[in-house]
């Protein structure tokens, strides 16, 4: 037994075993959570049922756009910046073959995390819709897999178009243009394209309410794969076999046509676009960002100033980073606009729904924070790449490097989270004590999630990988996301419990115990990953 344990520890099998347990825990926990939430909503009558369908459909819509975007960003380095491609191009191999290999790599990198995280949602929603095992099989093979495939095809085509255009425009300009297009689409999709807000009059009028509910089930964008997927998920009582097979056929045929099209396009222009990207390497740089190195940054030591300036300049000069950051920021702004529009009638809702919306808002904020930390904080250490030697050889400790990154991320994330919290409190007119509680919750969430992502990012650092998306979707990245989501779920549940106790003037002891639990959990989430991360960075040998 001792020998077995020693060999397991030596080969990291224990690490893999524990991590797999965590992932399975998330799948099971997420499944139970979705089942409970869904069952609860279904018990609320027709409104709950429509709300559940709508949330499910919106969830897959967001996933589809994020998938296209992430494929686009990972594709940028997979197809064009990878040293492996440069080597493969020198071999007597057909360029189309190289493209196909890289396409598969891109598909796997961009989709596997979504696939794992989507399992609990898929299982739970399918069960709520009473899907049979054959129907599950259809959903998976003729729905989810082509869904992921179509996103990669779309991004691949868009990428080749963008690179072709970079002959005439700077890559940065193209990314900005793309960002504006995506943001515009987001805006149209989530505001103009959606149902308006229920007014107090409609709430009291059954005919208006009925019309509202009927409209909610109509999708304004029926040509988007998320719409077909939501159709495939519909229960047997709503969707017959003919219609189900029709949507499966749409998925499969779109995937097959997409594959043919991208093969044809890549055979024509992949090598040309590769050469264009090679030429883009030698372009000169703007001087505006050099100003970061000239800022006085009061109160900071010279090495800390250098580290902050370097991190900011590197971030702003990597379009894959800031475009996605801006898009996520824009996504939050659209959400806040919707919240402010809906808040006009917030006072007319029953206290139960008021609390539910408020808590949903914090769940959403926590989820966004987990996504942001996984995407932007987790790769921070790996992004130092092979240049890390410059910091290791300099006269300060690696602990300083780690702490600098921690505070930089904390400052950015906590500011964003507090803006969302303050705006939500304002729109939803919450009581001051609950607003303070929420601010404290976000402070702890920021500390815990940043430590978790940064710490695990150092433990599972990939210094040879330059693509932040690939780093985030690696093994350690998925563990960080899972642990972050577990933290968010536990702290949101605690928040709900405390709000209920405050509203029902419940026991102070229970409130203290719950808050203490969250503080303890935050302490563990903050301290342990920080410790592991600093140790990993200190002992890293290039």
């Amino acid at each position: 037994m001792k020998g077995f344990l020693a060999s397991v520890l030596k080969t990291k099998r224990l690490e893999i075993f524990v991590s797999s347990l965590i992932v399975l825990g998330l799948i099971f926990g997420g499944y139970r959570l979705f089942i409970s939430g869904g069952t609860f909503l279904l018990k609320q009558g027709e409104l709950g049922e429509v709300f559940l369908d709508r949330m499910f459909y919106l969830g897959w819509s967001i996933i589809f756009y994020l998938l296209v975007l992430s494929n686009l960003i990972t594709g940028f380095s997979t197809f064009y910046r990878s040293p492996e491609v440069a080597f493969l191009m020198t071999l007597p191999v057909d360029n189309s073959q190289i493209f196909r290999v890289k396409f598969t790599e891109n598909l796997i990198y961009s989709s596997w995390a979504i696939l794992i995280l989507g399992i609990p949602l898929t299982l739970a929603y399918g069960e709520l819709q009473n899907l049979s095992s054959v129907q599950y099989g259809i959903v998976f093979l003729a729905g989810i897999l082509p869904f992921l495939f179509i996103a990669t095809v779309s991004a691949g085509l868009l990428l080749m178009l963008l690179v072709s255009l970079s002959r005439y425009f700077k890559i940065r300009t193209l990314f900005v243009l793309l960002g504006v297009l995506f943001a515009g689409f987001f805006y149209v999709y989530f505001t103009v394209g959606q149902q308006g807000t229920l007014t107090g009059g409609q709430l009291g009028n059954f005919r208006s309410l009925g019309r509202y509910l009927a409209n909610l089930s109509t999708n304004p964008f029926p040509l988007i794969p998320s719409h077909w997927l939501s159709k495939l998920f519909m229960g047997t009582d709503i969707m017959g076999w003919t219609e189900r097979l029709y949507f499966a056929a749409i998925f499969l045929s779109t995937g097959a046509i997409g594959w043919e099209v991208i093969n044809w396009v890549s055979a024509k222009i992949y090598f040309q676009t590769y050469q264009i990207m090679e030429g883009n390497n030698s372009r000169s740089s703007t001087k505006a960002m050099s100003r970061f190195f000239k800022l006085s940054w009061p109160g900071l030591t010279e090495p800390t100033k250098a580290l902050i300036s370097k991190d900011l300049v590197q971030f702003l000069r990597t379009p894959q980073q800031w475009v996605q950051f801006l898009l996520m920021g824009f996504f939050i702004v659209v959400y806040m606009i919707n919240l402010s529009r809906g808040s006009a009638n917030f006072g007319e809702l029953l206290p139960f729904w008021q609390t539910a919306i408020y808590v949903f808002n914090f769940g959403f904020t926590g989820f966004i924070m987990a996504a942001l930390t996984a995407r932007f904080v987790y790769p921070m250490i790996s992004m130092e790449g092979h240049s890390l030697w410059m910091l290791q050889a300099a006269p300060f400790s690696m602990r300083q490097v780690f702490i600098e990154k921690f505070w930089l991320a904390f400052f950015a994330l906590f500011t964003l989270a507090e803006v969302v919290a303050l705006a939500s409190n304002y729109f939803l007119g919450q009581r001051p004590e609950i607003a303070i509680l929420a601010s404290g919750f976000l402070l702890m969430t920021s500390l815990a999630l940043i430590s978790m992502s940064l710490g695990l990012g150092a433990v599972y650092a990939q210094f040879s990988e330059s693509n932040p998306m690939k780093i985030s979707s690696g093994y350690g990245g998925i563990i960080a996301v899972v642990l972050s989501l577990i933290y968010v779920a536990l702290s949101v549940l605690s928040l709900v419990f405390v709000i209920n106790l405050i509203q029902s003037k419940g026991q102070g002891l229970l409130i203290t115990a719950t808050v203490s639990f969250v503080i303890l959990l935050t302490g563990l989430y903050t301290w342990l990953p920080l410790k592991w991360g600093i140790r990993a960075l200190k002992t890293y040998e290039p």
Binding site: A306, K310, P395
Partner: protein
């Protein structure tokens, strides 16, 4: 100035550096020779604090690399064999960053940057991003960054890699000047001509073990007039390998 005492580094069962002991005086230009995989880069990485020894000690300018690493690093300038530099920064930004990392004030950084840029002919492209630099440009920038804070000890791994003949000449001159000014220089190289031209003393290492230390003349005079440094180096390495070393 540099004291290496019974230094060893193991990677699993492989002993990359085996019980190495060296003493290098202030102002000395010392060359470390050895075939590929001899343990030169591993030794250098332990000297500059990028790797921790499995056993033994390294002192740089009277500072122990283990217990006083930061003080030791402050007096070292290091140029690696492959200069991985921050791709998204410009050369000028990188030099500013390095100066700040060594706590230099902005005025001094600018002054030194101008001098080095002129000496190494970097002015034209210092404002461009490093991602567009050739290997030689990167190497020149790495040299400039290592010289920037006037280190007391300079550690250079393969100094001439990627440099054109003109820059190679300039770098050699700069190394000689710094050595005459009292800077201790430790270079690792395959290039025996460079070692012969520059070094006060030479050490030969193979499979992690030190095979010999001495001046260039002492190496050449051991086995007769006709044997130059290259012949002598090859013979020592081959003899060691024949002996199962």
């Amino acid at each position: 100035m540099i004291k290496i005492d019974q230094l060893s580094k193991a990677f699993g069962n492989t002993l990359a550096v085996n019980n190495l002991t060296l003493n290098i005086e202030k102002g000395e230009l010392f060359s470390f020779l050895g075939p590929n995989g001899a343990g030169k880069t591993t030794t250098i990485k332990m000297m500059v604090g990028l790797m921790t020894p499995s056993s033994g000690t390294v002192s740089m300018g009277n500072f122990d690399m283990k217990s006083e690493a930061q003080a030791a690093k402050a007096i070292i300038g290091y140029v690696p064999d492959t200069a991985f530099l921050y791709q998204h920064l410009t050369g000028s930004e990188l030099m500013t960053m390095v100066g700040q990392l060594y706590s230099m004030d902005r005025k001094t950084i600018l002054r030194e940057q101008d001098k080095l840029s002129e000496r190494l002919y970097m002015g034209e492209w210092l404002g461009n991003r490093i991602s567009g630099y050739s290997q030689g440009m990167k190497q020149r920038l790495a040299f400039a960054s290592a010289f920037l804070h006037h280190p007391e000890i300079l550690v250079v791994d393969e100094p001439m890699v990627g440099l054109d003949p003109k820059t190679a000449r300039i770098v050699k001159d700069m190394l000689k000047e710094r050595s005459h000014a009292g800077v201790t220089i430790f270079i690792s190289t395959h290039n025996l001509n460079v070692a012969e031209e520059l070094s006060d003393r030479i050490a030969i290492i193979n499979k992690g073990k030190l095979l010999g230390v001495g001046t260039v003349d002492s190496f050449q005079s051991v086995s007769g007039e006709q044997e130059n440094l290259e012949d002598r180096f090859l013979r020592i390495v081959e003899e060691e390998e024949a002996n199962g070393g």
